[in-house]
Point group: C2
Chain length 289, copies 2
Amino acid sequence: MSGVIGVDWGSSNLRAFRFDDQGTVKDRRSSAHGAAGLAKEDFPRVLAEVIGDWCDGGTRIVMAGMVGGRVGWQEAPYLPCPADPGQLAASALPLETSLGRAWLVPGLSSRNADGMADVMRGEETQLLGAGVGNGSVVLPGTHSKWATMQDGRIMGFSTAMTGELYALLCKHSLLGQLAVAAADFEPEAFKRGTRRALDARTIVPLLFSARADVLLGDMQGTAVESYLSGLLIGGEIAAFGAQPVTLIGNTALVERYQLALHLAGAPQSLVVDGDCAVARGLWMIGEHL
Amino acid sequence: MSGVIGVDWGSSNLRAFRFDDQGTVKDRRSSAHGAAGLAKEDFPRVLAEVIGDWCDGGTRIVMAGMVGGRVGWQEAPYLPCPADPGQLAASALPLETSLGRAWLVPGLSSRNADGMADVMRGEETQLLGAGVGNGSVVLPGTHSKWATMQDGRIMGFSTAMTGELYALLCKHSLLGQLAVAAADFEPEAFKRGTRRALDARTIVPLLFSARADVLLGDMQGTAVESYLSGLLIGGEIAAFGAQPVTLIGNTALVERYQLALHLAGAPQSLVVDGDCAVARGLWMIGEHL
C-alpha cells in the first residue's frame, strides 16, 4: 500500500489525494478541520483520522498550505522565486509521523523590480499543477495571485486582496448597509463596475459610487454586490494588465474573471480545475522527495 | 434672545453653535447623540435637551448632516452641484419645532465627466465655511472629500473611502492580524507606504505587501498600521492629483495629509480648523433663510 499521498491543508479545510505509482488520483477525501482552527498538537491526530487507513510504514506524505505556516503544524520558511518542483521538494521540511515520512512544502516569496515583497503558501502547488509551461496563471480568490511561468518554473507573482476586500465591503462597510441580498448575480451591474474600474485604472475614487448610485436612485440595492464585484475584479485586471491567462478556481468566480477579461480586451483565457491542479502539483513535488 | 443657531448633526455626534447678529459664535455645545443611534421621534427631544435654553419663539435653527439623511429626522434630498449658500438655503427643508423654525440643509450630489455619481451630507457646510473662493478643498476622514471651489461655489467633488478602508483593514482583515498596536505613529513606515502608492498609482497590488513585509521580516508588526495609512493616503493623492489644497480636519490626520502631499511634490497646503469651518458654513446658509 506504500505510495504518495498529497495533502492540501489550508486555513479553512483539508483535501487529501492518494496517488498510484503513475500519479493518478486513486482516492480523495476532505475535512473541515482547517489549519486556522487547530492547535499544534491537533495536527497529527486530524491527519491520522483523515488518511490513517491509507498509510503503511512506507507511505510518503506531501503537505502544502497553511499547515506549514506560522500557526500551522510547523513553520516551513518561504522559498524565493524563481522556483520549480525540485527546488520546493529540496526545501520541504521533513516530519516524522506515526503514519510514515511527511514533508511540509515551503511557501514562496517574490520581489518585484522595486523590491516590494509578496508571499504565497499553498498556491505554489496549484500553479505548478496547472501545467502551464510559459505564460500567466491567475488564481482568483480571497487573495488573488497573478504568477508568471517560464519553462514550468514560477518566476514571480503579485497579490490582489480582491476577495477579502469584497467580503469586508459587503459585510462591514457603509456600502454593505445599502446592499440588499440578491438572489442572483446581476451581470449588467457587474459589467458597469468592471468597465468603470478599467477606465479609471484605480478603484480609489470608485468604491463610494456604490453608495451614491443607490442614494440617487441610479442603482437598486440588489445590484450593489455585483457592482462591487465588478469594480474590484476590474481594478485587479487594470492593475495587472489585460493579457492571455490560465485561470484556476471555482466555476462561478472564474466566469466573472472571464467576463471581466473579455471586457478588458484580453484573449480568451484557459481554465483549469482547482482540485486537479492541486493534486497534480502535490504529485510533481512528491516525485522529487 | 432670537437669532441663528447652527447644528452640525452627524452620524456619531452633534455640535451646536449660537451666533450673534454678526455671525460670531457666542456659545457652543456638543452631544454624543449622533443621528445614527436615534429613532425619528427622538430627534426633537435631543435637540431640546442640547439647545432648548438658547431658544425663544423667534430663533432660526439651521441643521446640516445626517440629521437630514434617510435615517435622520426627515430626509432632505441631495441638491446637484454646482451649489452656493443661497441655493442650499433655498432647498432646505423647513420643520416646525417647539423651539422655533428649523431647516434641514440638503446634501449635495455631483457627477464627473463620465456621469459617475457622488454624494455628501454635512461636508458641504464645512466646505463653504472654509472660506476658499477658488481652489481645491480636502476633507480627510472616513469618506475623504475632494471638492473644487469656484467663486465661492462648490462645483463638484469626489470621495475616497480612505478612513473606512483603513479601519476595515486594521480591524477585520488578515493584514490586521499581523499588526501590533503601536504606541506611536511611525513616520518612516508611513512614508514608505505613501511613496509606494504614489509610484504605483493604484493600491490594488500594494495592500498585501503589509502582510508580506512582516512575514519576511522586512517590517515590524508595530509599523503595519502606519504603513497601511501611508498606502491609503498616498493612493488617494495619486488618484486625485498632487495639487495645492486647503485641508479641513483634526490635527493628527491633517498632518499625515500634509506629509503625503509634500512627498507627492504638491505645494504647501493651507489648513482650516473643522469646528470653525462648520460654524461659519452654517451661518452662511442661515443668512439666506
